[in-house]
């Protein structure tokens, strides 16, 4: 094991440890007195000590597993592992189910992101327009939803939607209706839970952002004769941009990786696997079908997709002159 760790580090040259271990930073120092500390990387050392073995190394192993034949007989039965090149990838990419799962993952995530941002933004604006009590009430409700763990959120909503003893069916008079039976109905129900969980973050962040815009700036603009639309577009939006970046990226990251809600609410992927998303799909392949290497290949593909999405987003930000 120790030997492998060393290999991993060598392969991971660009991870945070390299600068710490390598030549001292050449940095052009800023005027801050802390800059006197010769190696700022000392400060990064604890993070590196945690992240390299527990994040970098597993990531490397994920890639490694994806090019091996590694199932339960290899993991515990003493059967030697075997290098199979890209055959796990060709298996995954050649599987029609992968493509349908990919498609519904993207659609589901996109829907959740848009819905979360829309609900969150509307609520944030609403907060600036209402009296004290409605505002506190909405804040309180949102904090509650935010605080509720994904697991409990899922169980409560499952109970509300339960076929026989659920409140939703009682109110709508649709006793015996199974909300998880239809594929899109099931996805919609999970999406409701995801949005319920994540809109508060967007709402509170944006609300804080709007509050932080100095009144004097808005006042000045108004005196200059700017209308509400202009103020919004020319002043508020640019000032909120850094925050918008955060909430959009976070929403993409969170919603694309939804696991608990899908896993719990649809019982591991729904009827005939209709509600699988990539995350659950990879998990099932690895831990249920005991094909660890295939699961790893799906994980690698998924990581690449997320990176691509983020890269596109960051690039567009850079184009519009935003500093990271």
């Amino acid at each position: 094991m120790p030997a492998t760790t060393v290999t991993a580090r060598a392969d991971h040259g660009d991870s945070p440890v390299r600068p710490a271990g390598g030549a001292p930073a050449k940095g052009r120092r800023r005027s801050g007195p802390l800059a006197r500390i010769p190696v700022p990387l000392w400060l990064l050392l604890p993070a590196a000590l945690v992240l390299i073995p527990l994040f970098g190394y597993p990531l490397y192993q994920l890639g490694l597993l994806s090019v091996l034949k590694f199932g339960q007989p290899q993991a515990s039965g003493g059967v030697p592992t075997e290098f199979v090149g890209l055959s796990n990838y060709t298996d995954v990419l050649g599987d029609a189910q992968f493509w349908s799962v990919l498609g519904q993952t993207l659609a589901f995530a996109a829907f959740c992101v848009v819905a979360t941002l829309a609900v969150g933004a509307v609520c944030a604006v609403l907060l600036t327009r209402v009296g004290k009590w409605p505002r506190l009430l909405l804040m309180f409700g949102a904090l509650g939803a935010w605080a509720a763990p994904a697991m409990t959120g899922s169980t409560v909503w499952m109970f509300l939607l339960d076929t026989n003893s659920g409140l939703v069916n009682e109110i709508l008079g649709t006793q015996g209706h199974n909300w998880m039976y239809d594929k899109w109905s099931a996805f919609a129900m999970v999406a409701v839970v995801v949005v319920w969980h994540s809109f508060p973050f967007v709402m509170i962040t944006l609300y804080a952002g709007i509050q932080a815009i100095p009144d004097s700036v808005l006042e000045a603009a108004r005196l200059d004769g700017a209308g509400t639309a202009t103020i919004f577009r020319r002043i508020m939006l640019p000032m909120l941009r850094p925050l918008l970046v955060i909430v959009v990226i976070q929403s993409i990251i969170w919603d694309f990786k939804v696991f608990t809600q899908i896993y719990v609410m649809t019982g591991g992927g729904g009827i005939a696997g209709q509600n699988l998303v990539l995350n659950v799909y990879a998990y099932q392949k690895a831990f249920v079908a005991e094909n660890y290497s295939l699961g790893a290949a799906i994980g690698v593909l998924m990581t690449l997709i997320l990176l691509a999405v983020t890269a596109v987003y960051i690039r567009s930000l850079r184009r519009s002159g935003e500093e990271l």
């Binding site: 600068p19 007195p33 990387l41 400060l43 994040f55 994920l62 804080a208 994980g299 997320l306």
Partner: protein, 282 residues
């Protein structure tokens, strides 16, 4: 014109109240159902109130199903993760926002990229890694709380650093300058000057670390095979029976699981909002 504004404002008030009630209702339903007696829960006509509240479901969850133990397990993991992650993230955030050095942007991007990685996919190699660690240090092997602490620490760090960076940057450097002129050591500056000023941000960040650790389902499910060391989210699954779900027990356990997070939120709520606001002024 003025009248219109009043109507609009009243409409907004009503809308906000309705949204608030909708948002909070599932939580109300959870607590209510946890307090309902058995017959009312499985009733085909659920009512949004109860006249016979009982603690049976809680007693059942804590006693029969051993939730007390899982609660403590979860707490231990979350507290360790919050404290350690705050300390490490603080140092890293200072490095990334107070210094310019060669790989700064690369490292920053790596922290962002780290958040992209689907954690669930990493459970596969982590499972084997933790298994191998266990042969050397059983306290961090499979089925140990130590393993959960380490893993959750690693996965809450990137976001914590990313978020804390803004808070550190928001503290004016002139304060440190002044302290330095007064002859304060680097450690003093870091600990006595910067740390208190960043504390609100640290509180806000801790919420996220706490949530990561407290809510973690997939690691607990994969890495903890021995039920004695299970944490709450995965343990909740024991209430889902092959024949009939015990909704009363599920709701009671869910309530127990939600309360600590709510308390934490209420405690740091002010910092969270002002802190996030602070990040904007950056």
């Amino acid at each position: 014109m003025k009248r219109d504004n009043r109507v609009l404002r009243q409409g907004a008030n009503v809308l906000a109240i309705v949204l608030a009630l909708l948002t909070v209702f599932p939580l109300y339903w959870m607590v209510l159902s946890a307090l309902k007696p058995k017959g009312e829960i499985t009733s085909a006509h659920p009512r949004p109130w109860t006249f016979a509240p009982t603690l049976d479901n809680f007693r059942n969850a804590l006693g029969v199903s051993g939730f007390g133990r899982y609660f403590l397990n979860s707490m231990a993991v979350a507290v360790v993760v919050v404290v350690v992650s705050a300390a490490i993230a603080f140092l890293a955030a200072v490095a990334l926002s107070r210094f310019k050095f060669r790989f700064r942007t690369t490292i920053l991007i790596m922290f962002l990229v780290a958040q992209m990685v689907p954690v669930e996919a990493l459970t596969i190699p982590l499972f084997f890694l933790v298994r191998d660690i266990g042969t050397v240090a059983p306290g961090f092997g499979l089925s140990s709380l130590g393993a959960l602490m380490l893993v959750n620490l690693a996965f809450s760090l990137p976001f914590a650093v990313w978020m804390l960076r803004g808070f550190v940057a928001a503290v004016p450097e002139s304060l440190e300058e002044a302290a330095r002129i007064d002859g304060a050591s680097r450690f003093t500056i870091l600990w006595r000057i910067l740390f208190p000023l960043v504390a609100p941000g640290l509180a806000a960040t801790s919420v996220f670390s706490f949530i990561t650790a407290w809510n973690d389902f997939v690691f607990a499910k994969t890495l903890i095979l021995d039920t004695d060391h299970q944490t709450l989210p995965a343990a909740l699954m024991v209430f889902f029976k092959p024949d009939e779900n015990d909704w009363g027990g599920i709701m009671a356990a869910s309530t127990l699981m939600t309360v600590p997070v709510l308390i934490f939120f209420v405690l740091v709520q002010r910092h969270m909002v002002s802190g996030l606001g602070g990040a904007v002024k950056d």
